[in-house]
Point group: C2
DNA sequence: ACCTGAACACCGTTCAAGT
DNA sequence: ACCTGAACACCGTTCAAGT
């Protein structure tokens, strides 16, 4: 039929959300698209590049405005919206893709250092939240009802420095 | 000859440091120990558990005292000392192992929220540093001479909130 | 442009059996 | 207690060839 790269990324995100990163494989994705595994490499150079496209999509529509706390909440929500989304974004963003744009937009409403600190914090906390929720939904661990509030307190800790940093 | 779990973890850390996480496999580790792959499962329940033991060892001897900045520097140095160390610790610590002890010690000299924020920041920044250094040593990217200073500025941003938080 | 078929060089893990 | 041998059920990626 002729898939496009967009089709591949769409199917990949769907597969990730229903199976999780652990079972996300190129061969499984090929199966989902009714195509041979080798066909995927017509649309994508490697699995890692594909994960980068997926991360960019997860994070791509997040709006960043002057309300820094709300912006961080939106980023967190976007990553939590797809299974293992935070891990995919964190891994890919270490390699830089799409997230650097987010950092720039955040820097525009704060400072470069605050933006970087904030972003590392949001990703780390969100990844921990997602793993914790997954573990607790499997009954491996008791749920931590403080996770959401703890996110806000960390945000506040980082943003305490903002007024002084903007003056500098 | 009879290996102990300690032997396995030692060999694993050596293998990680010389090959990197990408090429770290149970089969390769078995080869290094002159043993069949299946023998490893006598000492360790899974690869994930083994990575947890490795992370605990990387982070285990880090001293945490009242000098929070110096403590964070020591943690950072410990992770940077072994190839892909930050990634191994970050992944394992999301699953909790040994790092929770570090968080507790850090909380004792700050507050629980500051400790958590600090730890997420230190791990995220160190992982990014390590990946960046690796990429730049491969010539994929130019070196960023600001990375070390940027680490300190982020630390300062988080610690701005500390006096108020301790009073509360 | 998009895909197939076949292959290459691997994986983690289990399990009966040996010493 | 520690290990072997053999198997199971997979991986990511390449590449000539087809349409």
């Amino acid at each position: 039929m002729g898939n496009s790269r967009e089709d591949v990324v769409n199917a990949a995100l769907k597969l990730l959300d229903s199976w999780g990163l652990e079972f996300f494989s190129m061969r499984r994705l090929a199966g989902e698209l009714d195509v041979q595994p080798s066909a995927l490499y017509h649309h994508v150079a490697s699995k890692q590049e594909l994960l980068g496209f997926m991360a960019a999509r997860i994070v791509g529509q997040v709006e960043v405005d002057a309300d820094v706390v709300a912006s961080c909440h939106r980023l967190r929500a976007a990553m939590l919206a797809v299974r293992d989304g935070a891990e995919v974004v964190a891994t890919a963003s270490a390699f830089r893709m799409g997230v650097s744009e987010l950092e720039a937009r955040l820097a525009a409403v704060t400072t470069p250092d605050v933006a970087r600190t904030l972003l590392l914090y949001v990703m780390g906390h969100t990844e921990a939240t997602q793993l914790h929720r997954q573990a607790s939904s499997l009954g491996v661990i008791e749920a931590d009802p403080d996770l959401d509030a703890s996110f806000d307190r960390g945000l506040a800790i980082i943003l305490t420095a903002l007024p002084a940093a903007v003056d500098a």
